[in-house]
């Protein structure tokens, strides 16, 4: 469904993504891990069509992004790491705005279900700036998914979120995955990755070093990672066993 073919991205004269070729199938759930500066967020932004690659091509259903970007954007729900919300508005106004701004919308039933699943109906009339980090994070996810997308791209969706909010988010995302949605998420938290992902991408220095189920990570670490050169990555991978 989504395919990277020799994709490169250069930012500030630095190769952030290096010749990456990878395929993501419909209904898959992929967790992306890697050290800071590995290119994870850039990879996700290229998938979301927020950034254009400097070379190589990204395909959606076999058609290059450049030829069907508007159709693709209707199917993609991208939730950035930053809280991309208007802080001065109430939750109600915020949802109203993003509904109006979108050219395609999810059904009222879907939106209502999402609001209840994330508990946002409790803070419906409060201003965003008055909400805690957890509520903001949930609203951030909600605002990016009001159009009921088939492909969900999440960059650290649970960062700074309390346990209750995290539970709400993960349960809801899991239910979406079960209903056939494709999920690609970046996280530093292994419990999130393990709960939601069928498959793992390990990124380092703009390259995908590993793609496969988490059970194969031990073998990958043993066979392909030099302890001296990959200290930080190894530390991250070992955290999953804690």
């Amino acid at each position: 469904m989504l395919q990277f073919e020799n994709v490169e991205k250069i930012m500030k004269k630095k190769r952030i993504i290096k010749n990456v070729s990878v395929q993501i199938n419909k209904g898959e759930s992929i967790g992306i891990v890697g050290p800071n500066g590995a290119g994870k967020s850039t990879f996700l932004k290229i998938l979301a069509s927020v950034l254009k690659p400097d070379s190589g091509t990204v395909f959606y259903n076999g058609v290059p992004y450049s030829k069907n970007v508007q159709d693709l954007r209707k199917q993609i729900g991208y939730i950035p790491q930053e809280i991309a919300l208007f802080e001065e508005l109430t939750v109600k106004d915020q949802i109203h705005f993003w509904k109006k701004a979108a050219k395609n919308m999810g059904s009222p039933t879907y939106i209502l279900e999402m609001l209840h699943a994330l508990g946002l109906h409790h803070v419906y009339h409060q201003k965003v700036k008055a909400l805690s980090g957890g509520w903001k994070r949930k609203l951030n996810v909600c605002a990016g998914m009001l159009h009921n997308p088939d492909i969900i791209l999440l960059d650290e969706p649970t960062a700074g979120v309390d346990l209750a909010a995290k539970d709400d988010l993960l349960t809801w995302l899991k239910s979406l995955h079960k209903s056939g949605k494709t999920i690609i998420l970046i996280s530093h938290e292994w419990d999130v990755i393990n709960y939601l992902s069928d498959s793992i991408f390990v990124l380092q220095n703009g390259e995908i070093l590993f793609e496969g189920p988490s059970e194969q990570l031990d073998q990958f670490e043993k066979d392909q990672l030099d302890l001296e050169e990959n200290q930080e990555l190894i530390k991250i991978l070992r955290q999953r066993k804690r």
Partner: protein
């Protein structure tokens, strides 16, 4: 676009304190601070600029007689331009410019448009001087007219002396004129009145332009924050483009700050009792202000770093305000004055 306008309108009026400060601060300046800072003519005598290009004959005599009055202090200047600067800077209450052929015209009894009267809307005491000048001009002109008529009647008499006839006519003015002249308050016909906008008004209008410029520039800062937070990316993903959103944002900001600017101009002109002239003030203000807003929006669009954008606007607006004022009020004009929006406003206004 309606959705964006609705949202941006809400965002603009969300912070009530900021909004209140934006509007109340200039009103506070206008009603409390500026009245104490305005300069008025304090001397007991009335300073008047006097331009006499002939420096002899009737012109010289009239100047001498006017200057004899202890309540009037004549400042002899060489040109109309100098006189205008003196009026604008508040150095004098008003200026009188005598025609180049003043003596010849008075001798022929012609009193129309022989003198130019330059004042500001704040000039007050100069009307007294105007009366006095007009009386002197009228006196000489009528004497001349009488002597001329007599000369016509006695053109065959060889011993006729024009000067004697003139002096004879002059006796009808002492101790009181035989006929008192009835002035029409604004313009008597023999004096041409010209309105000049004084430095205080120019300075205040320029200050409001600078103030609205700075807060308009500050009002565009959320663009940088929205970009940083990924809001613009989210809008681009959801609606296909951010063009309509950015245009709506600029439109809402422009409308709000234009309204504020024109409100401040109107209040300033009202409090200074300056005639609100659309051609002289509002149209130049509109052109200067819109040019300034467009420049700011262009800088906002093309400068990627918030700190660089802010620094540029602060320096540019300060230069524009200060140097344009200096250029207009004291002739400190340089070629680069033409890149300052305040200068365009002043040039069009004056």
């Amino acid at each position: 676009m309606g959705t964006y306008l609705f949202l941006l309108n809400k965002l603009l009026f969300q912070n009530k304190w900021k909004l209140a400060f934006t509007i109340l601060f200039p009103l506070f300046l206008l009603t409390v601070v500026f009245p104490f800072a305005t300069s008025t003519v304090e001397e007991s005598s009335i300073p008047i600029a006097w331009v006499d290009q002939e420096k002899e004959g009737f012109a010289e005599t009239i100047g001498f007689r006017i200057n004899e009055d202890p309540r009037i202090q004549l400042l002899h200047v060489n040109s109309k331009e100098e006189a205008i600067v003196a009026v604008r800077t508040g150095k004098v209450e008003a200026a009188f410019i005598l025609d180049e052929q003043f003596n010849q015209h008075i001798k022929s009894g012609d009193i129309r448009k022989q003198m130019e009267w330059i004042r500001t809307s704040r000039s007050f005491l100069d009307t007294f001087v105007k009366e006095k000048v007009a009386a002197e001009v009228m006196r000489f002109a009528l004497n001349s007219k009488a002597a001329n008529d007599l000369q016509q009647l006695k053109r065959n008499e060889e011993d006729f002396n024009w000067e004697v006839a003139f002096q004879h006519a002059d006796q009808y003015w002492e101790p009181e004129p035989l006929f008192q002249m009835d002035f029409v308050p604004s313009n008597s016909g023999d004096l041409e009145q010209e309105e000049a906008i004084d430095n205080l008004t120019i300075g205040l209008l320029g200050f409001w332009m600078w103030y609205t410029w700075i807060i308009f520039a500050g009002g565009l800062l959320p663009i940088y924050q929205w970009k940083e937070k990924g809001l613009l990316d989210r809008i681009r993903l959801r609606s296909g483009s951010i063009r309509a959103f950015i245009s709506s944002f600029y439109l809402v900001q422009t409308l709000f700050y234009s309204l504020l600017f024109f409100l401040l101009i109107t209040l300033t002109l009202t409090s200074l009792k300056v005639e609100m002239n659309a051609v002289n003030i509002y149209i130049p203000a509109f052109i200067g202000f819109i040019s300034m807003l467009l420049l700011t929006m262009i800088v906002n669009l093309f400068i990627k770093k918030q700190s660089v954008y802010l620094m540029l606007i602060i320096i540019y607006s300060m230069l524009s305000f200060v140097f344009s004022f200096l250029a207009i009020s004291s002739g400190f004009e340089k070629w680069w004055s033409y890149i300052l929006p305040h200068y365009w406003f002043y040039q069009l206004m004056l």
